[in-house]
């Protein structure tokens, strides 16, 4: 059977997927590039839209906020997820039940989580009530420029940590027990075992989680739009919300397109790294 005949067969099997990728991903991406290079009412390509957004203080502050958010939220979520995964990596009774409870928020739409946290973070809500138990006075939360972004971080972490924990827990369970036995024979304590056995063995899932988490957190939208609308004083104006506002509230399509292209390029870079790691595993399987 000839390989060229296989190409036709393969094309037939792939046709729906190729069609979907072309229409739903590649075409809109090309549209975005095309439109982003056309300044309002212009007929020739230029970088005017890009120059405009990168000199616009509102867009600048949105990029800075997004980067700051990423730098805080990703290590935080991964540290908590890793801590929980280590705690749950055992055969103690009831572990499966508690693990399910931690995973549940993952399945709920982010908009529902946001709506519920909006109630919990009200001045007279559940969050302040819990703080009162520890003798801490009422906090302004979402109405404070100093605390609003921390609230967004709290909500997105409550949603996402269980997912990353699941991946890391699977990684932990893949580590051969014999490595820990050897480490004990060498006289390593718990801390040394973590550093010299657990961390190196977890390198692949940890890298994957770091990349995937970074991508996910660049695109946080529902909690911002529902809880704070980017405020107060733009302190929570993450890039997805900024793009949305430009396109639909301000009606500034051109600069929204330019911001979208910037975001897509960012994603492509991060996803390419993610794919490389997934691809490596595909070859081994």
């Amino acid at each position: 059977m000839s390989k060229s005949k296989n190409v036709l067969v393969a094309l037939a099997f792939l046709a729906p997927a190729i069609l979907a990728v072309s229409i739903l991903r590649i075409w809109p991406a090309l549209v975005a590039v095309h439109e982003s290079l056309l300044a309002p009412r212009a007929t020739t390509y230029s970088l005017d839209n890009y120059i405009y957004i990168f000199t616009d203080p509102i867009f600048q502050s949105s990029v800075v906020t997004t980067l700051f958010f990423s730098i805080v939220v990703n290590p935080l979520q991964i540290a908590v997820a890793l801590g929980l995964a280590i705690l749950l990596n055992n055969k103690l009774p009831g572990t499966g039940f508690w693990r399910t409870l931690i995973l549940l928020p993952v399945a709920i739409p982010a908009s529902v989580s946001a709506v519920v946290w909006a109630a919990a973070l009200r001045p007279d809500g559940l969050a302040n009530a819990m703080l009162a138990v520890f003798g801490i006075g009422p906090q302004p939360f979402l109405t404070s420029p100093q605390q609003a972004l921390a609230c967004i971080i709290l909500v997105t972490s409550w949603i996402g940590v269980g997912y990353w924990m699941t991946i890391l827990l699977a990684g932990l369970q893949d580590i051969p027990k014999s490595l820990y036995e050897a480490a004990r024979i060498d006289g390593m304590n718990r801390g040394q075992q973590f550093r010299f056995v657990t961390l190196p063995q977890l390198r692949r899932p940890l890298t994957f989680v770091l990349v995937a988490d970074t991508v996910a957190n660049f695109l946080v939208f529902a909690p911002v739009q529902i809880l704070t609308r980017g405020g107060p004083q733009r302190s929570t104006n993450l890039i997805m919300h900024e793009i949305y506002t430009r396109a639909f509230a301000t009606g500034d399509k051109s600069s929204a397109y330019a911001a979208t292209v910037v975001l897509i390029l960012l994603m492509l870079t991060v996803v390419a790294i993610q794919f490389r790691m997934m691809g490596d595993q595909g070859d081994k399987a």
């Binding site: 059977m1 190409v7 809109p28 409870l101 399945a107 009530a129 819990m130 409550w158 995937a212 897509i264």
Partner: protein
């Protein structure tokens, strides 16, 4: 196991795990009890915290009645319909593609695989804006098709199914072909009957993706007739003033469906999530 083996360290370990579980579950529990107590009671027992904070003293189902007399029932139906249709369409598209990429040998296979996965993996929301204008141009705004289409090509699903096909022995295909089967028969009669577990995993991922979608349905289907539940609930504030009872009841309805699916299919979900990050 005897009681003598219960050591303080293990008790402390279990207590820590339980505390973490409770912290994560607490907001969900709060949704459920708030949905079933009178509006006045939702914030009444928060200060100071007591047992009444977490257990209703008066029960009511009025919020659910009010909820389903509004357009919310329609939204839940829309969400279900869109998610199920996405899973059906997505499984066809992704299984066919995964089969070609795993079983059929053809020149350029790796390049196609790379391109397809990378473009599917760009999180969908990143291109929501240009896709919105493309789809609005195609008059797909406020249609089920507009809601469903973006979900059918799922990179993770293709990846999972391909991994599964790669794990099946080559001899299956070779023997079938010696018997005179064509590629489609090999796919339909040999591979597909074995693919159940992988298709459940892939279907779960697509269902949860579509059930959670917010930005895309907000853009493409704002009309009440096509509005999905995740969008409806975010607009309750303006529709009801701030009536937390119906909000909590709605949140409970929307949450229970994926939660039950997750609880029943957790091994599939866990396996699929795990295999993306660590399984070698």
């Amino acid at each position: 196991m005897t009681t003598a083996r219960i050591k303080p360290a293990r008790v402390l370990h279990i207590a820590t795990i339980a505390a973490a579980g409770i912290v994560f579950f607490l907001p969900l529990w709060w949704i459920f009890i708030s949905a079933m107590r009178p509006e006045d009671d939702i914030f009444r027992y928060l200060n100071p915290i007591g047992w009444e904070t977490f257990l209703p003293t008066r029960w009511t189902f009025d919020h659910f009645v009010a909820l389903f007399q509004s357009t919310f029932g329609r939204s839940i139906f829309n969400s279900l319909f869109v998610a199920v249709a996405t899973v059906a369409g997505g499984l066809i598209v992704c299984t066919l593609a995964a089969f070609a990429l795993a079983v059929i040998e053809f020149p350029g296979r790796n390049i196609v695989f790379t391109l397809m996965i990378v473009s599917f993996l760009i999180p969908f929301d990143a291109i929501a804006l240009p896709l919105y204008y493309v789809m609005r141009g195609a008059e797909l705004q406020n249609t089920y098709l507009g809601l469903i289409l973006p979900g059918v090509g799922n990179g993770l699903a293709v990846f999972l199914l391909r991994q599964f096909f790669l794990g099946l022995p080559k001899e299956l295909r070779e023997a079938a072909m010696v018997d005179g089967m064509g590629w489609f028969q090999v796919f339909w009669r040999i591979y597909l009957p074995l693919t159940g577990p992988a298709m459940i995993s892939a279907g779960l991922i697509m269902f949860i993706f579509q059930w959670q979608a917010y930005l895309w349905p907000l853009l493409i289907a704002p009309a009440t007739e096509y509005k999905v539940a995740a969008v409806s609930i975010a607009q309750f504030n303006s529709a009801y003033g701030i009536a937390f009872g119906p909000i909590m009841a709605g949140a409970m309805c929307i949450s229970l469906i994926p939660m039950l699916i997750l609880v029943f299919f957790q091994p599939y979900f866990t396996n699929s999530v795990a295999s993306t990050g660590s399984k070698e």
